[in-house]
Symmetry: D2
Subunit: 330 residues, 4 copies
């Protein structure tokens, strides 16, 4: 697969490394608003630094990976679809639900492959949990519990334009919840506080939240998030069902154990999401490649982005109104 | 301490064993509606089978442990207080909030020692978590998460008179939440489903529930319960704060590990609450004895029973009304 | 069972507590060289402080528990056997192999019940490992590995009369090895160093040792001991076989986990053998009682004491000679 | 670094993948006795399939990685050294101690960089344990314990030419022991049995062994190996010292935990050494590259191969003679 990368920032570099390691995907072009950034990623890989227009016009390019800023996603999605490229697009489609929905419909109508980069679906632990659920290892799923804590809040500049904790951070958990629950969600109730940094409250957001979702069959799903965990990335899932329970655990750099007067000590969880999800990013690219090669649906598509955003909207509204919000209201 | 035991049923026997093992507490009398049951507990211990009246009239008896059926608690509490006995009373005071409140006030007014048997406060793991919180090991508490699953639902006969999942089962978690949060709770939101046994729904109850409490400082507390966990008693607490996290873990009979083709296997959690909380029951009696000897307040008193019941009421109302309930409403 | 306790020192007190907790064993008498010590244990339990002679002469006493100093064991064993008492005797029989052997033969010839207090056989974890071996959970046992470390060396006065690290400390592991291997041991090779305290070397002993045993079927058993582990009692067993592996783990006071910047911390292992083996002492008494009631052999008898001592002799000789010692040499 | 790979078999492919992933090392040539194998590795990477002679004659090649069959190592080592190439050579140098020693001396005399591929020194867990030792985390090292079990024995054809369990398998542990002990080893005692497959005994070898090493300061090191662990690769190290203990743990594919009636189950250890040591192989190449760039010594050199082989010789002799062998004897 001859792939062009649009966006040479932090996440673009992560994808470039995954492309390097994939035996069947070749990076042929990089575009970025800052042409030096595009050049820096392209040159050592024998790829070209091109403009976005040049990429869409080049018939030899099979696929584009959209990793530019969120505000550009809808435009590039539509142009890439029109140009007949296979698309892997970073999340979110957009911060606005209606616009996302319209874009998803348009791209879907074009008929080509379009995968959305919900990286956690590709994490080996999360994927093993999903497989165990599908295999019936715990019978009927009854309670699903997410713990999702980032090591530290992002800069205030970023936070202000992020769309809030539900659209920016919990969106990952909403997507995982949808994927694992595998049935319609009926209602959303959100509680939230600002406990980490008062500046976040001043910006009209919360930094600590608990959301409870209910599904048509009565399954109860809780999601607890915080913008700051001093010990590192804290992301765990627990699925409880009629026959047992599945639990993912935090990852550590090594499993070395130190036993001394202070106790039995294992390493703190990995700090940064790039380490924690390094394998997930590689698997995500491979899923995209395999979908393209086999003509099958990717693990996550644009509609998944729309639906996760709908849950984020419902949670925001629930927190604002102080009541349960039903999905049918949106 | 010369102690009389009122109630020789299952929980009465648990207390009798704790009394046997305590060096400074002597069982001198046992009363039970079924006199053979009283006799069977009393005789091998050199204690007398007496009537409740005889116990209250016997000035040589320092203390009574009320472990009879819930409907008798208020009467016995008031008579024991009037008789000047130190009291350790099994929970709940009653299923009715107003009656509990009135009884608690009356007994408190009498001025003697009256401890309520919230056994989990005395569990060594839970107590160690509380001590670590108090010591500031995790800084300011921000999120508190309870998982509480019984191995199997009680008989339907019992369930029908139990007052429902919030008053009967989650009451323990409400008490632990109050004790660990250590600040006023503002609101309660409950979600619930009947997933384990349709007969429970027919009886107007749920068997799976998630409740979210918020406190004055904005701390978020979630409690997830189920009436059935096929692998045994599943009771864990996670306290997350500004400096770290505390977690209790389920107990197993032994720590033997078996490694084979099927994986690395540790024992399932202990099945029954009597095994799981065996140490808690012994500590509870000792706390009662030490409170009596030192003239200090016990770890849990009647007011704790009233307040836990108030949370149960609020949760029931929240589930019924489908909205957040504020404690000030009750 | 009406039981008399001979020896009211540290280990005597442990046994007294086990007797308190056993529903079917009653302490009726205590003897000790220091009569106040006997009185202090006897009085609060309604037992009598008697002389050893009085105990052996009292036909109403069913059983004696010998917990006096090692030098008295052989005399008391023989007198108790002659008096027809059931006997539970603290280990070792004696420090001398030939004398132990002679005493064991004499007592065995008398025909009554005589159990030797190898407490670890009764530890729930060790017993569960044994049961799993017998059940064939790991197929044919091929390698057996013991780690046995005391938290701190005993006082030098004690050490000088202890018979050395193999007779005093590793004797427990030799007994467990014999019990778990369940086939004849052929040879012993010992390595040892003095690393903890030079005074131990001056006393002619080592404080750190590794012994390798081989059995008739070729099973290899290693035992690694140290007189000092700063983090507490470190006693673990690993059994490896054709179908898998069994591992015991150290015990902690509680399973509370603290996660912070320093890592994920569980408590250090329990420090003192009395805590670590509290359950084992209670089980040991119950095994003695059940053996007496059912007329069956106890879990460990005098011959087990002789055979463990033989292995200690072989290890001492191996360390001295710097070569493998074959059991047939002794 | 322009690198040529000699040997395109299983281990050659592992190294090729590490080279792919290294940003500063370029594969320019591949040689193999089977030219199609060389071509298959070289072509997709834009490298040339060359003869060994061509590689040594090409002045533009900075370094060679010798991954051909053991019998060719000494010849290629000497020719590569003469040609002034930096060398990374797979272990062992040879199966014969004297020949290995002579080759190591010759290559060392030539003065260039020559690293030996003892991959475990580069495993992140092992490296973290080493770093903790060096940092004094456990004070003075007193006991070092290795468990090393392969999932299944290699084919008999391979085993017959392998030099036996000590030279072929335990050689890794001998190297790790030398690296971690960091002081001269004085003596070796080996015990061994054939328990896995009688054909191994017929070939004059054992499949289960325990070796005890002693050092000048009295540190005791035990190594327990088996050719077969049904649950996968079982390789753990425990370092015990005056201030505490360090333990490595087996790796699993994911940390998913399944809790059910059968217990609490984590995955079996990874099965194959290529998965278990995937990161180690990449680190090894990087250490080689960094040594070359900075002109420093590699983490393992030819002399380490000679000394590990000397320990294997001593262990073989100890097993044969049934006595302790002193290193000074060899």
């Amino acid at each position: 697969m001859r792939l062009a990368l649009i966006g040479a920032g932090r996440i673009g570099k992560v994808h470039a490394a995954s492309i390097d390691a994939h035996p069947d995907v070749t990076l042929v072009a990089v575009a970025d608003a800052i042409s030096e950034a595009a050049e820096a990623l392209a040159a050592p890989r024998g790829a070209q630094a091109l403009s976005v227009d040049e990429i869409f016009d080049d018939a030899s390019i099979d696929a584009v990976l959209i990793a530019s800023s969120t505000s550009t996603h809808i435009d590039y999605l539509q142009r890439a679809a029109a140009a007949g490229k296979a698309i892997l697009c970073e999340k979110p489609i957009a911060l606005d639900l209606e616009a996302s929905k319209a874009a998803a419909e348009a791209v879907t109508h074009a008929g080509g492959l379009c995968a959305l980069a919900f990286n956690r679906r590709h994490d080996p632990q999360c994927a093993a949990l999903k497989a165990a659920l599908v295999d019936g290892r715990i019978g009927k799923l009854e309670t699903l519990t997410f713990t999702s804590r980032d090591p530290a809040p992002p800069p205030m500049d970023y936070l202000k334009g992020s769309g809030g904790i539900f659209r920016d951070m919990m969106i990952h958990d909403f997507d995982m919840a949808r994927w694992l629950l595998d049935e319609p969600i009926v209602s959303v109730h959100a509680s939230g506080s600002c406990l980490v940094d008062p500046a976040i409250a001043e910006a009209g957001d919360v930094d600590t939240a608990v959301v409870v979702l209910t599904t048509t069959s009565g399954c109860l799903c809780s999601i607890s998030v915080s913008r700051r965990a001093v010990f590192g990335h804290d992301q765990r899932i627990e699925a409880f069902g009629s026959l047992g329970m599945l639990q993912t655990q935090n990852e550590t750099d090594t499993r070395l154990k130190v036993v001394g007067e202070q106790g039995q000590v294992e390493e703190a969880p990995q700090w940064f999401f790039l380490e924690r999800y390094a394998k997930a990013y590689r698997q995500e690219l491979d899923d995209f490649y395999q979908s393209w090669r086999e003509g099958r649906a990717p693990r996550a598509g644009l509609n998944d982005g729309v639906e996760a955003l709908r849950l984020a909207e419902a949670a925001s509204r629930s927190l604002e109104l102080g009541r349960v919000v039903y999905l049918e209201e949106l």
